[in-house]
């Protein structure tokens, strides 16, 4: 007689199950440090622009100061977009209930954001720009300028992520029984 392992069905097999089980807390922490580092760059740029009064070309955040070419690299922006997409996808099975719903919303929006960055990267590589523009252009740049558009994309991905983290790290007693990961060892009393 075969026995269905619901946890394995939900979280996938092998290393993905391990990632969303005993290593979910560590993996989430690493992922969130990357996310926070990205926001630290944006906040540093905001301080340079609004606090220090620098002009936009000089306000290059933290990494952009020693490496000015980095901030203009479509590869860098695509790399971060695909890293976010992979992280949201791989760590999703560890979420349950409402936290999973919000995490999935973030994943879906990031998927579209990643498509926009893929288009930008392809334009930068081929030299053929959309809509006859002189620079690589996102689809929704027809409506909103690039700077505001991608800041908006990042914000509407980040918002459901934070809500998902709240529900994940503050589960109800009923929800905690279904959570397969290591994030709640203290609550369940399990050891690593």
């Amino acid at each position: 007689m075969s026995v269905v392992n619901h946890s394995a069905t939900r979280t996938g097999g092998g290393w993905i199950r391990s990632l969303n089980g005993p290593h979910h807390r560590a993996a989430l922490s690493i992922f969130m440090v990357i996310v926070l580092a990205h926001w630290a760059e944006h906040i540093a740029q905001a301080i340079q622009l609004w606090g220090l009064g620098w002009k936009p070309p000089q306000a290059r955040g933290v990494l952009g100061m020693p490496f000015p070419w980095l901030i203009r690299s479509e590869w860098l922006h695509y790399g971060y977009a695909i890293l976010m997409l992979i992280g949201l996808f791989l760590l999703r099975p560890g979420f349950t209930g409402r936290s999973r719903t919000w995490w999935t919303v973030a994943l879906a929006i990031q998927f579209w954001h990643h498509i926009e960055h893929l288009l930008l990267l392809l334009q930068a590589q081929t030299g053929h720009h959309l809509f006859g523009r002189s620079v690589p252009t996102s689809l929704l740049q027809l409506v909103v300028p690039r700077v505001e558009l991608h800041l908006f994309y990042n914000t509407i991905v980040f918002l459901p992520m934070v809500v998902a983290m709240y529900f994940h790290l503050r589960p109800t007693p009923a929800e905690i029984r279904d959570i397969p990961c290591s994030c709640h060892r203290q609550l369940t009393g399990a050891s690593a």
């Binding site: 440090v33 070309p57 505001e148 983290m165 290591s182 994030c183």
Partner: protein, 181 residues
């Protein structure tokens, strides 16, 4: 390792990561932006009136550019710069195709080996056509700018700063159960 000890270890690691990031921000901000790079000359000169369309537009800088992007648009807003932007020492040049008479706009975005960068626009007029009523100049840096000084960006950044604080609070605090309403 017990659950509480493991969580404490994760929190310490996270706090250390945040501390390193904060240090990098402070170091970068204290570093300043150094000497501003300068544009020392251009051909055609800014505001020049020409009888014929130049075959090439050149810009000269005080430092040697590392990367450069020049865009020339004709009076109809069509890009007439053709081919790659060439960098030769401190001079940057781009070939120009034939276009109609009127106001030509040149947008440039140059990165220097020393780390600075410069972006801006110049213009020249071909023939006797009036230069008035021309829309905004082409912005060679627009595709590469990642920070805007506008109200929408400020509002979005304020929201993101708040969300970042909430996320940090959640990550640094011990997970706990929530009483359902």
């Amino acid at each position: 390792m017990s659950g509480a000890a493991a969580a404490g270890h994760h929190r310490r690691l996270l706090a250390a990561g945040v501390l390193v990031l904060a240090t990098l921000v402070i170091v970068a901000l204290r570093g300043g932006i150094g000497d501003e790079p300068r544009l020392t000359g251009m051909d055609p000169p800014d505001g020049a009136r020409l009888d014929a369309i130049p075959t090439v537009v050149t810009l000269d800088f005080a430092d040697d550019p590392q990367l450069a992007h020049l865009v020339v648009e004709d009076p109809a807003g069509r890009t007439v710069s053709s081919g790659d932007t060439r960098v030769d020492g401190a001079r940057v040049a781009v070939p120009v195709q034939a276009g109609s008479e009127g106001l030509y706009q040149v947008g440039y975005h140059v990165t220097f080996a020393r780390g600075g960068e410069l972006a801006g626009t110049t213009s020249f007029t071909v023939g006797t056509a009036a230069a008035a009523g021309r829309p905004a100049a082409p912005d060679a840096a627009a595709g590469h700018t990642h920070a805007g000084k506008d109200p929408l960006s400020l509002v979005l950044l304020a929201v993101d700063l708040l969300l970042t604080a909430v996320l940090l609070f959640l990550l640094l605090r011990r997970p706990r159960t929530r009483t359902p309403r």
